[in-house]
């Protein structure tokens, strides 16, 4: 028993003072969503595929909105994004005292990339 007691007395603590102190993230961690809005074509694939329906896309207004409190961080939208503009950060969302949404506004693309290519050929 004595070696156990001594070891536990002098060992480093197993816990940390979160959120002041955070652990290093893992490379594959699925954290908060972010959208490279300049590449987004507002196709609504992410909103359709999302199991928790936390993403709202307005094609006319060119806005992309995500409710991080409804998001389950499953990564389905990221996998299905045709433009590969949706990404997940490695860090989790920090605890907050007020709820909010991730709101992004982009520009309406006049023509879809593929259509533009078809026109030139």
């Amino acid at each position: 028993m004595t070696p156990n007691v001594l070891r536990n007395l002098f060992r480093k603590s197993s816990t940390r003072l979160y959120p002041k102190e955070t652990r290093e993230t893992f490379e594959r961690s699925r954290g908060e969503l972010y959208n490279e809005i300049k590449d987004c074509v507002f196709c609504r694939t992410c909103a359709r595929k999302c199991p928790s329906q936390c993403i709202t896309v307005d094609t006319k207004e060119a806005t992309w909105q995500c409710d991080p409190f409804a998001c389950i961080y499953c990564g389905v939208c990221v996998e299905n994004c045709p433009e590969k503009c949706l990404h997940q950060k490695q860090e989790y969302r920090k605890p907050v005292t007020k709820k909010g949404v991730i709101f992004m506004k982009g520009e309406i693309k006049k023509k879809h990339k593929k259509e533009a290519e078809d026109d030139t050929s």
């Binding site: 197993s14 893992f26 490379e27 594959r28 961690s29 699925r30 595929k49 199991p51 928790s52 389950i72 961080y73 499953c74 990564g75 389905v76 996998e79």
Partner: protein, 358 residues
Amino acid sequence: MARTILPFGPQHPVFPEPLQLKLVLEDEIVKEAVPTLGYVHRGLERLADIRDFHQMIQICERICGICSTIHAQCYCQAIEELMGIEVPARARFLRVVWAEIHRIQSHLLWLGLFADAFGFESLFMQCWRIRERVMDINEATGGNRVNVSVNIIGGVKRGLGPDITRWILSELDLVEKEVRELEKVLLHDYTVKKRTVGKGVLTRDQALELGAVGPTLRGSGVVQDMRQLGYAAYGELTYEPVVCKDGDAYSRNKVRFLETYQAIELGREAISKLPTGEISVKVKGRPEGEVVSRVEQPRGELIYYIKGNGKKNLDRLRIRTPTFANIPPLLSMLPGIGLADVPVIVLSIDPCISCTER
């Protein structure tokens, strides 16, 4: 003293989740127990009507907060069977790796809670400290501590490279070393034995008759484990169910403790036999027909019944979780037990109420 009815729960320090047991007592001895369920019903099966069958994977995964990947695996296996999809060998082995990692963390969580139920708080903390290492494996491989979200219909989403498998093996070695240190306390300590040996006995016949599953059944001496069916890659791994004969709280504790070693061993074996090749196949079409899929969860046999009608939504999804099957055996364990032992007996079936009520 006259008969007294004592409500045990739904909010009680030993219960992580709400379950109410109305205990009929006579002089602090339980004569009868009547359960009340339904405090955390979420209607997840009904969601199959409005979410397509691919989205249901994420929903099934969230039925249980502890063995999430095994729920998703059971669901995917059912849909694959309906659609006649052959899963690549590598994906089958990877599913076993994640399932066994989940089993380790689930058993460590339970061992901690069980220790807490008989008032051994430092043991509870030790178990959960070791568990953190396993949760880190989950996060480093799947991307999340609990919901690894790796199962998809037709295989798995993420592969494991040689570097990461080497790291998992070294972590598993450390986990095993730390778990071995607990063996002396959990299995041989005088106080632990005093609280668990001979308490809540479920005989072999009772266990079979009442339909117990998982460690509750194996703790009563019945050799039955769904992994014997050889689903995923279990048919290609050496595996022998852990069985104890006594049927008391101690033997259920022992089964789970020894299963932790077994899960570590199975994880190692699956990694060492990991075949090369694809990790998923493309899925076309929609499920049609009826199927029943069974897997072994840390708590026992999990059954999914699925009826598809060739549309994107399923016709019916019915889930029977192991705790649901283990409640009748629990009720037969309680009569004759002192009130102070009730928490230990209730926890010895490893209740997962959110699972049960879906």
